[in-house]
Symmetry: D2
Subunit: 152 residues, 4 copies
């Protein structure tokens, strides 16, 4: 199988490294996004509904949906990178499948194929209202491992 | 040639319709983005540098870059749609070509192929510092015209 | 659930309609591709290794890989379309994850989100050698249902 | 500007290297594709209409359209790579804008952003009938330069 999705948490030093990096992202803080899972090859990010993240009809803006999806995929790849490296998004593609409305959205980044230089992730975003989860966006992303430049 | 890029401005009612829609986007306001051009088949959006739009290294976050690119393309398509319709992003793909740093970034959405149901746009984002403009992201986007549902 | 993947076969008239359409595709015949599964929301296509489908290093050409992936996704969507319609690919994105070498490649198209107008599919291509299957390409595709124009 | 599109031809040794590589691609020969331009950062490939490259309605198959687009982009990147390297497609995205019908199709690959490791190309495919050229597909592609492995 090709998916590198652990159910377990990542090692403490990996989680710390990623949480610290996430906390330095002005955009994630400004949007109100939170890291809710850091496992090997899998990172989840949640974003609560608020007027500051909407498009013109009151749904979550595709830009907010994409921003947390891109970030979840980036850190999912980063969980598998060696120390002393950093991660950059090369590109991604995302389909907005349905209007994103609910209490919050949750983006899941999952490594589909890890590599020494390039890593490919699957991106999924769910809108959550109460117990109900609905897939509202799906995508695919390519990331590059940058050596000799620690993320800090 | 197939590009529908007018150099002229869009008709006043089209510009008003788009400015009003843009002003209802909580995310664009929250990020500090501004509409700087509304021409037939071509819309530009600017975003000034500020800590609230950064990733962990202080560059513009790919999520912010993508958010204004997606919005520019959406409104570029919308300039060509009939009254009483609205626009939704079906999907987009974007390559982050270089770190986005500078005084501001400018996203340009350009209709590549208009259609009754689907419209395809080219997306470009430039980082601007003083006189210098550098292409930092390029993409392609598919939009759908939703009939019988005015954008308001 | 978001994936519309039946394990069962599609209804006989659906399978006939798709096999007949596939048989009219000059390219699939010319490449030597074969339909190996037609289930609701899921179609598989196989392509045997031969010099006529290679790139310069003797691997399967990305063009051949993509051609059967695009076709598998198109027919996967088509299994869910009403009679009297036809299917067109709007766009797709594909990552070539590893060199495609083996006895044959198999493309799997799976409907991720069905819709009245637009349907989104996941695309996967495996290289098969003996018992071993390796994911060599993964993508995502948008298709449109064209009404009032039967595929024939 | 960032486009590396020479109007001039590439150096003779570059053209020879690319023509020789193209001639080893079993798929291009099998489809009947021809290299019609090799300039720095820009390669064009033509494919004549014939039953062997059609989809079910008699148009050029998206798989054939994509195959020559991918190949044109790959060699466009390759014109800028140093000797002793080879080129691999990381991923591409393509929109099929209109049914591809005519005497032939022509794919144009153009380097949008060259890089030491990754290069990004724009892909365009035109359907040609007599004097008329119509854009039928547009896409974007990421390629990687593989060092220490000559293409031969």
């Amino acid at each position: 199988m090709t998916e590198q999705t652990g159910r377990e948490q990542a090692a403490p030093e990996v989680r710390e490294r990623i949480q610290a990096s996430f906390d330095r992202q002005g955009l994630m803080r400004h949007l109100g996004a939170r890291l809710i899972r850091i496992a090997p090859g899998s990172v989840h990010i949640a974003l609560a509904a608020r007027p500051e993240v909407t498009q013109q009809n009151g749904y979550f803006h595709a830009g907010a949906t994409s921003a947390i999806a891109d970030t979840a995929g980036g850190y999912a790849a980063f969980t598998l990178f060696p120390e002393g490296t950093s991660v950059l998004t090369v590109e991604y593609k995302i389909n907005l499948l349905a209007p994103a409305e609910g209490d919050r959205i949750e983006a899941e980044g999952t490594v589909l194929r890890p590599g020494r230089t390039l890593t490919v992730c699957r991106l999924e975003v769910f809108a959550v209202r109460g117990d109900r989860r609905k897939l509202v966006a799906a995508g695919q992303q390519t990331l590059i491992c940058v050596e000799g430049r620690p993320d800090q």
